[in-house]
């Protein structure tokens, strides 16, 4: 017989746990749900837009009755559980309905706090928690004029904004003199107040309520000091308290909330708890994102998989008032041990403050322009040392240019028709509609459903802001660590470290060691694992072709029509008539439809049929060409300028240097593509300062630059150091590449790698530690011994042409 699972609390956290559980173990339990509200499960967060008239109750339903029945779940709507008998393992409701359990899940949420003043129970005094409350506010807005909202926090302001939009005259009363003081500092609070006042809201700051006045119905509110104002509706939005009544009455250990451990278990091992009613490591959360993480962990244990743990969350907040962009996270007030970076542009309505402690972001608050909020939050969560970024920190990650969506940074002000994702042509309106209509909560979900941010990724920040703006929290960033993919809980760094330390040398042993959930892995972890194994064990690991993306498997770039492009290596971009003639011959022989000079100073033969590839390579190989690796996470091109051989300004022989660099490094596999350039003087015609490794020749030697790229997010390089000889250039290049090869995460280019570890760190490894540099360079040379084999020649000569020819032809 199946075990019985009972859920008390049909809210966001509890039902999310069931959804996660059904994904993992659809048949593990007979499930019964009790909910005191008379509805299916709905998105409580969106009550604010419902109140504001921007959405309807139907829009915000997450699971209707049909969902429960089709999953075999018994739902008792509108029934409040009043008793848990832990010995007999039975729960009973007010009206005597009961159910027995093997495991019990408590997700009773929280109760709005009602301030203990006379008159607080008069008709017309309400809280803001559920559909019932919203109905009463809407009713009031039709019959009355004056609303007073007590509490200038997130909930209070969203209620006030909604009531105002429904035509009421609204006054917000706040005990403090800053609005949302838990989320905003005084400056941002004042800016917010100003924009809300511009919308017609009234504020009474630093006022303490003494009594609600009225006889049959509320008539007004009186404050300490004697002021009294008229009110037909009073909304109390001063905070919430974890709803622990039931748990306490059952004798479960509670403090502020129901105390749980990292597997979401209460002191009774049969009873789990998730949501706002919970206290985990001393913290009770009041936002959905951490609750959903709890749900995931809890489901994992209910499904008896037992491998995941909840380790707490970092949260950030947004106010869901259309047209207002604000963001805050962490400790944004600071103290004696912290320092601030502040930008204020009142005319543009922009304010940003970043609080640093020990060179790390400790908190941030932003008003007006919040598009970098997600970035700051990530830097904060990853505890990145930002000393090297400091100069530019305030201007955000995008200040150097971000292709695809120009200058857009005020998400709230964007038109619905504004294009957010330039790759897939997705507009703001499409994304918001999908978030609501398809009930999406995370960046991953938005990517899957809308395709926005799923291609080049340059609009990720915008999409995250749209999510935050629609749902009020940050759903993409909360987990403290990010696993490699859905197949494992481990991060890229953990997996790579494990491969090295435990001497794992095959795909299978690695997946077994880390207990991969899907035996084969998937299309995102397999190429990464293959790279980690290859870069860790260059002489031993046998490359797994089936774990490579087609371009790397076929050594050519796949095109939209399924044909391929062939780009031979042209060392340093320098060629000669014989080579050009050979390329021309090949192009004619195989009827190549398009010949094009690439953005990387080479020649591209486009539209080649797959089965012609090996023959074409054989011809190119005879003419002395090797693969250009234009398809690989590998060394790509080394661009050069003519340098002092010809140019009247040239200071060194940049062309020859570029060729030497390319001969040294070609064939190497890297976490992401790796591009280089050498310019003969600071005029920098080879664009060396937007390359992963760039050399700018000067009269006295060579400037070495690292961590640049063109592409999606332009980043100019940082100057690593200056050296005097070509030999040094080569050694530093080898050492830098090796460092990146060993530490870069798969698909992380040098630019984000450098920002993650910091320029100082790279300098320390490469510049300040000569023996360390030599060791790194040695490891690079060693791995090159196995890597510098021309794959084209190899394939052209191979006996098995299986990859390139049809299995058979029929019909």
């Amino acid at each position: 017989m199946r075990e019985k699972l009972v859920l008390i609390g049909n809210g966001m956290a509890g039902v999310r746990t069931l959804e996660e559980l059904l994904k993992l173990a659809p048949d593990a339990y007979d499930i019964t749900v009790f909910g005191s509200e008379p509805y299916g499960n709905y998105n409580r967060i969106l009550l604010s837009p419902v109140l504001a008239g921007e959405k309807t109750i139907d829009d915000i339903m997450l699971n209707d009755d049909a969902w429960y029945s089709s999953n075999g779940i018994t739902l008792h709507k509108g029934k409040k559980v009043t008793k848990i008998d832990r010995r007999k393992r039975i729960v009973t409701t007010e009206d005597g309905t009961d159910a027995s359990y093997d495991r019990l899940l408590l997700a009773t949420g929280s109760n709005p706090f009602v301030i203990p003043v006379p008159g607080n129970n008069l008709p017309g005094v309400i809280t803001f928690r559920d559909i019932y409350d919203v109905d009463r506010m809407l009713e009031a807005s039709q019959n009355y004029k004056h609303a007073v909202v007590i509490g200038g926090g997130l909930l209070g302001l969203e209620a006030a904004n909604g009531l105002k939009l429904r035509g009421m005259n609204v006054t917000v009363v706040h005990l403090m003199d800053t609005l949302m003081e838990r989320q905003l500092d005084p400056v941002a609070g004042a800016m917010l107040k100003k924009s809300l006042e511009d919308r017609g809201l009234h504020f009474l700051m630093a006022h303490s309520t003494e009594a609600i006045v009225g006889d049959e119905h509320v008539k007004g509110v009186r404050f300490k000091g004697g002021l009294e104002i008229a009110a037909d509706l009073v909304v109390m939005a001063v905070g919430i308290r974890p709803n622990t009544d039931l748990a306490k009455s059952a004798g479960l250990h509670c403090e502020r909330g129901i105390v749980v451990n990292d597997t979401m278990q209460t002191y009774d091992p049969r009873i789990y708890s998730v949501g706002e009613c919970v206290q985990h490591r001393g913290i009770a959360y009041g936002l959905v994102a951490p609750l959903f993480e709890q749900a995931k962990v809890c489901a994992n244990h209910l499904a008896q998989l037992g491998y995941s743990r909840y380790e707490g969350s970092l949260t950030s907040t947004k106010l869901k008032v259309t047209g207002i962009d604000l963001f805050s996270a962490g400790d944004f007030i600071g103290d004696d041990s912290t320092e601030d970076i502040v930008l204020k542009d009142a005319a543009r309505g922009v304010y940003k403050k970043i609080v640093l402690k020990d060179n790390k972001i400790h908190g941030a608050v932003m008003y007006g322009d919040t598009v970098d909020g997600a970035w700051y939050f990530q830097l904060m969560r990853d505890e990145i040392d930002v000393s090297d970024l400091r100069e530019n920190l305030m201007f955000g990650q995008h200040h150097l240019g971000d292709s695809g969506h120009g200058q857009t940074n005020r998400v709230a002000a964007m038109e619905d028709s504004a294009e957010v994702c330039g790759c897939n042509g997705i507009c703001k309106g499409d994304i918001v509609k999908a978030i609501i209509g398809k009930k999406l909560f995370t960046l991953e979900e938005v990517r899957a459903h809308t395709k926005a941010s799923s291609s080049c990724g340059s609009c990720t920040g915008l999409v995250e802001q749209l999510l935050a703006h629609t749902l009020g929290g940050d759903y993409s960033q909360t987990p403290k660590k990010k696993s490699m993919c859905g197949c494992t809980e481990f991060t890229h760094d953990e997996v790579r470290e494990g491969i090295r330390v435990n001497r794992l040398k095959t795909m299978q042993t690695a997946r077994d060691f880390f207990q991969w959930k899907n035996p084969d892995g998937c299309q995102s972890c397999r190429p990464a694992l293959n790279y980690y194994l290859l870069s860790t064990w260059p002489s031993e690991y046998v490359d797994d072709a089936q774990s490579r993306f087609i371009n790397e498997r076929a050594h050519a770039n796949i095109q939209k029509d399924g044909t391929y492009s062939v780009i031979p290596r042209i060392w340093g971009g320098e060629t000669n008539p014989a080579e050009l003639r050979a390329i021309a011959d090949v192009a004619e022989k195989y009827e190549v439809p398009t010949v094009k000079i690439t953005g990387g100073q080479r020649i591209d033969l486009l539209g080649v049929k797959k089965e012609d590839l090996p023959k074409m390579w054989a011809d190119l190989s005879r003419a002395g060409f090797v693969s250009g690796h234009a398809y690989g996470k590998a060394l790509r091109t080394v661009k050069t300028c003519v340098g002092k051989t010809w140019c009247r300004f040239g200071t060194q022989d940049s062309t020859t240097l570029g060729i030497k660099l390319e001969k040294l490094t070609w064939g190497s596999w890297t976490p992401h593509k790796f591009k280089m350039a050498a310019s003969g003087c600071p005029r920098n015609c080879a664009e060396a300062t937007i390359k992963d490794f760039g050399v700018v020749c000067v009269d006295s030697g060579y400037e070495l630059h690292v961590g640049g790229n063109g592409g999606v997010k332009v980043r100019a390089t940082d100057l690593l150091c200056k050296v005097e000889t070509e030999e040094e250039v080569l050694e530093y290049c080898a050492a830098f590449m090796q460092l990146y090869r060993e530490e870069g995460r798969y698909l992380e280019r040098t630019a984000p790698y450098l920002e993650r570890v910091g320029l100082s760190y790279v300098k320390q490894k490469i510049v300040e530690d000569p023996s360390g540099r030599k060791i790194l360079a040695e490891r690079f040379y060693e791995s090159q011994k196995y890597a510098q084999v021309d794959p084209w020649k190899q394939h052209a000569e191979a006996e098995d042409q299986g990859e390139f020819v049809p299995l058979s032809k029929i019909g």
Binding site: D520, Q523, R526, F549, K560, G802, P806, S808, K809, G811
Partner: protein
């Protein structure tokens, strides 16, 4: 049509695919880690990408062009993407692969 022998199982890499060229276009024949074989039109329901060139895992393939994931058993995209490509009967007997090309549109 009747069953046609198209080659040896060993000629298809595990977690890989080969194509069978037919008058009606390419058919991709996939082989999983457990040696199950599946055959689909070599045309992604999205924009016609050659599925045979994708990365295979479990009973699925990720299209090489835009990364849709297609279930090999039915030839349909895994949610939330939607669309199917035509499937064909295929079987392995004594190490040989036999295909029964479907003629239905």
């Amino acid at each position: 049509m009747s069953w046609i022998e198209v080659g040896e199982l060993a000629e298809i890499p595990r977690l890989g695919a080969r194509v069978v060229r037919t008058a009606g276009g390419n058919i991709a024949v996939f082989r999983t880690a457990t040696d199950a074989v599946f055959a689909l039109d070599d045309k992604c329901p999205h924009k016609g990408g050659p599925l045979s060139q994708g990365i295979v895992f479990e009973n699925r393939v990720a299209c090489p062009l835009h990364n849709w994931v297609i279930d090999l058993q039915e030839g349909c995209a895994v949610g939330p993407d939607t669309g199917c490509t035509r499937k064909h009967e295929v079987k392995v007997e004594a190490g040989k692969v036999f295909l029964l090309p479907s003629t239905a549109a």
